[in-house]
Symmetry: C2
Subunit: 335 residues, 2 copies
């Protein structure tokens, strides 16, 4: 692990005390070198993904640092899961303002550790540096998948069923509630509902155990990070297909359903807001029942929410009567 | 490649037009997915390193964006070189302030391309995002090395010769000249000298072709990023040895020697300033002559500047008479 800053404790000590325990692979050399050495077992391919979180853009200044660590790793795992890959190792770049306390770093590392405990992934190296800007975290995650078994955006065909894991829109509602706490009353939410939704914003579910289902059953897959409809559209664009999404089948949490009961007009927003970090899988009609029973056996929650169509039909959200629902936007963009 | 911002042109188009040409590996999928798939050929190990550059910390606001792209990739390659690994692929995280023009991005990518042209490495994926802070670039580079042939900081033994590639202190002098242009006159430098030194600060040498020499001859190695003496000390700490560095043998450029002739007191600073991005190799006495002749045949410039000593002797810089030179600090720290 490279280091170019020193705190009270010294960067060597910070790395040795706080981050080295996260480095389980021998090749990480306890983070004592500035590079790590990795074996890739025969017959396997490496899946590589990279996501950056910036304070004020991807998380809030007041978010607990433990949740920031959790989120940074979980969003990368979500990309690996969508490719059918099991997490292996990751590098961590941590750019922090001068004066960031060791408590922040310890809690951040605890969030990484929480996610590691649920998966096979571990820290392999990285860089720590000072920044005059906001805390900025980049993780490059490497996953493993059997040779030629990676699942990509390309591969969906007309007639495939579209499934999504987890529930949709919770993170959006959590973020809204953080900004406008009074909405809890408007939406008729209990304190538990609010806590649940805020937690979904701060700590996306760690979904890497779904990778094996994706690998075994999906023709194509994508993680839902920038909005359900927009991400399905990305998958469809690369696969040269269209899709029909039945909004009546989109999975919402109990808290989400409470909000929708009070404010049905939020539906188009929930299915286009970001930060869900579930995975969308296109599964052939024939494999559908097998996928569903394996998912159930694994305790994984997937909802069938539509079908793949011809490219000429585009990507449409339709209500229970088959009427297209107009969407102002399909996914998240920073501008 | 993940994308979560859009400019005039749209992020999809930016990635397709500017970055996809840098992605040579099939597994990069023309950056159309949010993950890449990689083969690691049998009998090889992967070397992983990660470096972050922040504007105002690792480069200057007025540095040409092409040089920033060059530097971001070159400093990562320097870590791979020190491990004896040849560059394979890298991920790029680019956090840019809103309003950064496409010209900046094009020039930045041209700098990456310049470095790619000198090596085997290519872009495999990444993330682009907006930041309210300064431009922040993180590259995670993957290199390949034959099984169990990676060279680490650990492995130097008493009596090994210490070699360093390139010249020392040029980047420090270039940075000083950018801050105080009048120093050119004080130091008796021509415009060419100044341009050379500034370029060494902005565009560290691409040294990956040295990897094979390191792999075949070095017992231990480290790249010189935080100051020659400090980095040798890091190598020695992990190898449980000491070292004696003969300052009379430290390689300086012609411009560097001009400065030292006028201001000899800069010597302790040049050997402890950062940003050199050469490699230090510990080579056994027996292998020394073979290393030197192979290096010469390859057109690589390595200078023998000292020997590895007992740990109890520490890491010392000594003058031509064998007198220890006092150093205020041994390497670079941000605080």
């Amino acid at each position: 692990m490279a280091e170019d800053e020193a705190r009270d404790e010294g960067e060597f000590e910070i790395i040795a005390r706080i981050f080295a325990p996260l480095a389980r692979e021998t090749g990480a050399l306890d983070l004592k070198d500035d590079a790590a050495v990795l074996m890739v077992s025969e017959g396997h391919e490496l899946v590589v993904t990279c996501d950056t979180l910036v304070e004020g853009v991807h998380f809030l200044q007041n978010d607990p640092p433990r949740s920031i660590g959790h989120k940074a790793l979980a969003v990368n795992l979500s990309d690996l899961t969508a490719k059918g890959a099991r997490g292996y190792v990751y590098t961590l770049s941590l750019a922090l303002p001068k004066g960031t306390g060791t408590f922040w770093i310890e809690e951040f590392a605890a969030g990484l550790s929480d996610v590691q405990a649920e998966t096979d992934i571990s820290l392999i190296g990285g860089d720590t540096t000072a920044t005059p800007g906001p805390p900025t975290i980049t993780i490059t995650a490497l996953g493993l998948v059997s040779h030629q078994h990676a699942v990509m955006r390309l591969g969906a065909s007309r007639g495939d069923r579209l499934y999504v894991s987890g529930t949709i829109g919770d993170a959006y509602l959590g973020l809204r509630l953080l900004g406008e706490p009074n909405l809890a009353e408007t939406w008729g939410l209990t304190d538990e509902d609010v806590a649940f939704l805020v937690d979904r914003y701060r700590r996306p579910a760690v979904n890497n155990r779904l990778a094996i289902l994706i690998r075994n059953f999906a023709q194509a897959s994508i993680d839902v990070s920038d909005g359900l409809v927009g991400d399905i559209e990305k998958l469809c664009r690369v696969s040269h297909v269209g899709a029909s999404i039945e909004t009546a089948r989109v999975p919402f949490s109990n808290a989400g359903m409470k909000v929708l009961a009070r404010e049905p007009s939020l539906l188009p927003i929930l299915i286009t807001a970001g930060d869900d970090y579930g995975v969308v899988a296109a599964v052939s009609e024939k494999s559908g029942p097998g996928f569903e029973s394996e998912a159930e056996a694994a305790g994984a929650v997937f909802s069938m929410l539509g079908t793949v169509a011809e490219a000429s039909e585009g990507v449409r959200a339709v209500d229970a009567k088959g009427q297209a629902i107009p969407l102002k936007r399909k996914g998240f963009s920073h501008f």
